[in-house]
């Protein structure tokens, strides 16, 4: 075998591996989307691997009769509240870590990393007792407050690395020209950091959108989409809904994430690059 054929074979092998991996990721998505719209007859026909007849009946039933639409609305409200609260608390902290040098800073940073590792979802079980007392049980605000605890360490770390990326000289120049520190933050640093902050907000949204344990435990009648789907699909012991509803549910849950990742795909890689720097 000469070098040329060796090289060609290597290339074919390389592309085959990439192709197989991509198919492995994509195929289940395509199948889930397809089966979400398959008629009952086609689904139960063992000869139809790829269905021929389609219906929107199950998706519609799931959305409007079984309450997935309300779940979507609740999810959006909870995620938005989570972004607002965690950014109000997280931006000052992130700014402080990025722009000041002060005693105890490393300890504080480490504690935030450690708190990020703490399983907030699990701490939700004891939280239920407090929520009942505070009349926060079964409210969207209650879920958002818990989701904030989950997202906040992440917001602090990511905003601080975004602020650290905004050069100090700009702010100093602004202060020389008479702006206060707060003024220069508002006029200079914040606008420059905005794209990064938007990406962080998107990620926070997705975290809240996907979270199922906290939402399931803390709410009963006002459930977010994953919690709603979980209770429709699995009940308490699993396997309650007919198959074609499960596929419709997979479609409804995945579509928003797909749209999201299409818009955020650039940021997702760079953001993790930043956090791990």
């Amino acid at each position: 075998m000469n070098d040329e054929t060796k090289y060609a074979l290597k290339k074919v092998g390389f592309y085959t591996v990439i192709f197989v991996v991509v198919i492995w990721i994509i195929l289940p998505l395509i199948v889930a989307f397809l089966y979400g719209f398959t008629t009952k007859a086609d689904y139960y026909d063992p000869n139809k691997v790829i269905p021929h007849h389609f219906t929107t009946e199950y998706v519609k039933t799931l959305l409007f009769t079984l309450g997935a639409w309300d779940g979507i609305k609740n999810s959006v409200i909870v995620a938005t509240l989570t972004i607002i609260i965690s950014f109000i608390l997280g931006i000052p902290a992130g700014y402080s870590i990025a722009k000041f040098i002060f005693p105890g800073k490393d300890t504080i940073k480490l504690s935030i990393v450690a708190l990020r590792m703490f399983p907030i979802p699990i701490m939700t079980i004891p939280l239920v007792v407090l929520y009942i007392r505070l009349h926060l049980a079964d409210t969207l605000l209650g879920v958002a407050l818990a989701h904030t605890a989950m997202a906040l360490p992440f917001v602090v770390l990511i905003t601080s690395s975004i602020f650290a990326g905004v050069s100090k000289e700009y702010e100093e120049a602004a202060m020389v020209f008479g702006l206060t520190r707060f003024g220069s933050f508002l006029r200079i640093t914040l606008p420059l950091a905005l794209p990064g902050l938007a990406a962080a907000a998107m990620f926070t949204f997705v975290m809240s959108w996907n979270e199922v344990f906290v939402a399931s435990v803390l709410t009963l009648t006002h459930r977010t989409l994953p919690a709603q789907i979980l209770s429709i699909m699995a009940g308490s012991s699993g396997g309650a809904a007919p198959d074609y509803y499960k596929f419709a549910a997979a479609f409804i849950m995945t579509l928003p994430s797909m749209i999201f990742i299409f818009f955020a795909r650039k940021y997702l890689v760079t953001m993790w690059g930043i956090t791990l720097k």
């Binding site: 592309y15 591996v17 990439i18 991996v21 991509v22 990721i25 994509i26 289940p28 199948v31 889930a32 089966y35 139960y44 063992p46 139809k48 691997v49 608390l89 000052p92 902290a93 700014y95 402080s96 990025a98 800073k105 504080i108 935030i112 990393v113 590792m117 703490f118 399983p119 699990i122 701490m123 939700t124 079980i125 004891p126 939280l127 239920v128 007792v129 407090l130 906040l152 360490p153 650290a164 959108w209 996907n210 199922v212 344990f213 435990v217 994953p226 979980l230 699909m233 012991s237 699993g238 198959d243 849950m253 994430s257 797909m258 990742i261 997702l268 890689v269 993790w272 791990l276 720097k277």
Partner: protein, 283 residues
Amino acid sequence: MERRSLLPYLLILPAFAYLLFFVGYPLVQALYLAFTKNGALSLDTVRRTVNNYYFWSALKNTIALAAVIVPIQVALAVVLALLLNKAFKGRDLAIYALVIPLTISDVASGLIWYSMLSPYGFLNKFLMNIGLTSHPIYFFGYQYRTREFFVIVLSEIWRSTAIVFVMILAGLQMISKDYLEAAEVFGANYWTRLRRIVLPLLKPSIQSALIIRTLFAMQIFGVVWILAGRDVPVLAGEGFYQLMEIKDYGVASIYALVIAGLSLLLGILYVKFLKAEYLEVKT
């Protein structure tokens, strides 16, 4: 002068207090619920938990799932990141495809894999139509626990390898080309370069990915609940079941504490290995 030195602390305080409250209060509450009865100290709840078959089974399954899923997905992510770090035609598209599961929740991933593997799902129909099997292969149901375990592993690897992949790819891209070129000049082949330069420099990324994934594996819940229910009990699932169905707050708290304990142990490892190398002030 005095005000200036207090400012950074004042800025951090609200976030820090919020987090401390959401970790501290539930922790106190959990300890109270777990170790008291009618206001007095009691190990009754603990006894009730550990005498239950599901507790040990859940502990075993949670650790087993983490032990199977995490190493596979880290190894897979490293290989994929190395492959995709090269320049080739269609690279951006391939990376995009691999990153798609990043935003898919575990519940959705469970449902998606159910559509692949259910008795009338894609795989069974496909295998029957090309004549490889005459009957559907059953992956679900309490008599097929091992298979359910396997499907959970498959679904989790499919979904959450993306995050490990992204972290390791980001790590790879930060390795300076100079080292690699220098090594090449001195005649080091691909494997030597990989072993002596790339992997050592990638260690922090691999370690943090490893431990983050292990911690999240301790909380595995949604995908298990969708695909196996209580056939494959896990800690978070049992805590959920005790709270929602049995309404036993004490036992549910013990499950929370066990997961918290396991996570704390792993969290200490995380802080020890990763340290705070990032987020430095640029001076």
